[in-house]
Symmetry: C2
Subunit: 245 residues, 2 copies
DNA sequence: CGATTCCTTGAGACAGCTCAATTTCGGTGG
DNA sequence: CCACCGAAATTGAGCTGTCTCAAGGAATCG
């Protein structure tokens, strides 16, 4: 199977120190190693649909996916963005209320739900780490709520780009300084679903930021930010986030 | 001190089976009992401000509070609503990024942060329950994101009223059937901050729902819902939430 | 009964949406 | 290498839901 080529020992895992297993010691890692398996999805492929039974949980090893909700009439809101090291699924619940869709090619490190749940009670480090990650996600969700409820279209775009730049910086370590290139894993429509806008409005605001020199489009999916401070000043937030050195 | 009159044994606590201590056994409860203390706040009083040091965590025993974020120019978004049994504060973090304000008279069951944190590692039942509660909050935040990003003003109002009706029903047990009276703990402005609207729009939509008979205002802060299904059909969601029997 | 706070209602403005027409660009096959 | 295709993105023009600004009204409290 194709996934075999992607397998590797936990020790060499790129997300070893950020994922749900981050705080595990060698013994605990052995247990995880035995029940894990990899799955990959192509860009655009659904991972699960709302209402589906979900008999696994997983860490994102590589790639990007969206968590979203759709109303009967088709209106869609993204409610989560899964980047490498993020956790997918909820221990203790058999079905998922959200659609999860691969936005790029994605690799998941999966665990069957039941074994994972037993493991959670036996290895406190996993439960501990999962709590910390969930609290972080809740903070991110709350920041997002401010964006959705109170920001203008331009501020929304600037906020999204800043969030992506920050995440990219975290993975690559080091503070962001000077020019940054953001690899946009989202289509304009996905950006719109993230921000509660239409894709036309997203496009117009991107064009506006471009023509004002705040961003440079190297490519439709690659954004160069000459000066991150200028971009951040467009988010409407205080600029003391500590992102810049 | 006034709080003394409110003290009571954990066993008689109204939120005993829903709060962070829900899964504790008698021994664990004894430990909690020793480090807890009550605090009350009047309606409108701040509990903490964003940036403040926060050396306690707490359960809401009685009353309602808001968690909110404010931008420099004054735009405010509520990002959490604390109802009885909800948990306030984050173990492992010394300062809070949010304003927390009492919306009604409120009673908190507080624990100093440090002792609580040690307790979390020693009594797994607390950590376990806190994880479950945090995951529920994350779900609530995601539902809220759909409301903020994609719903019309009318749908937003109907959704808020439905959420409050649901919470009220949960506390009082039993499925909601027929007429319900919602005790609105929010001013129009607070509703607006919750929903990402202006207070004028909230007022207009409340008037519209009233004139169409979907709701009856017994009082500005007391809403009677003759038929919960009619209200729910205005939320834009599927009506299969299982709230109605 | 003033004063204050909260709420309602109106009229006009405007940000973002809808509908519609192109344009760009990465592939794909001749 | 070119021509063509389809998906994604851009841009325009007009519309509409919500906001802004403004003027009362209702309830509560000294």
């Amino acid at each position: 199977m194709a996934t075999a080529t992607l397998d590797h020992a936990c020790e060499d895992c790129p997300i070893r120190h950020r994922a749900v297993c981050a705080r595990c010691d060698a013994d605990e890692l052995d247990v995880l190693e035995q029940i894990k398996y990899y799955r990959t999805f192509e860009a655009g492929q659904p991972i699960v649909f709302a209402g589906d039974e979900m008999n696994f949980v997983a860490s994102v090893v590589k790639g990007v996916a969206s968590i979203s909700q759709t109303m009967e009439d088709g209106r869609t809101q993204m409610v989560g963005l899964l980047l490498p090291s993020d956790f997918l699924g909820r221990p203790g619940r058999a079905t998922t209320p959200y659609d999860v869709i691969a936005l790029s090619e994605i690799t998941l490190c999966c665990f069957r739900r039941k074994p994972f749940e037993t493991l959670m009670t036996s290895t406190p480090h996993v439960a501990e780490r999962l709590l910390a990650m969930t609290l972080d996600e809740l903070d991110a969700a709350r920041e997002w709520m401010l964006i959705l409820g109170r920001k203008t279209a331009r501020e929304k775009i600037a906020s999204l780009l800043t969030i992506l730049a920050r995440r990219e910086a975290e993975l690559g370590m080091a503070k962001v300084k000077g020019p940054v290139v953001i690899d946009l894993p989202l289509t304009r429509e996905a950006m719109a679903d993230y921000l509660g806008l239409t894709l036309e409005t997203v496009s117009r605001q991107m064009s506006a930021l471009k023509s004002e020199g705040v961003i440079v489009l190297e490519d439709k999916r690659k954004v160069r930010v000459p000066d991150i401070r200028t971009l951040m000043s467009e988010t409407g937030d205080d600029m003391d986030g500590g992102l810049v050195a």
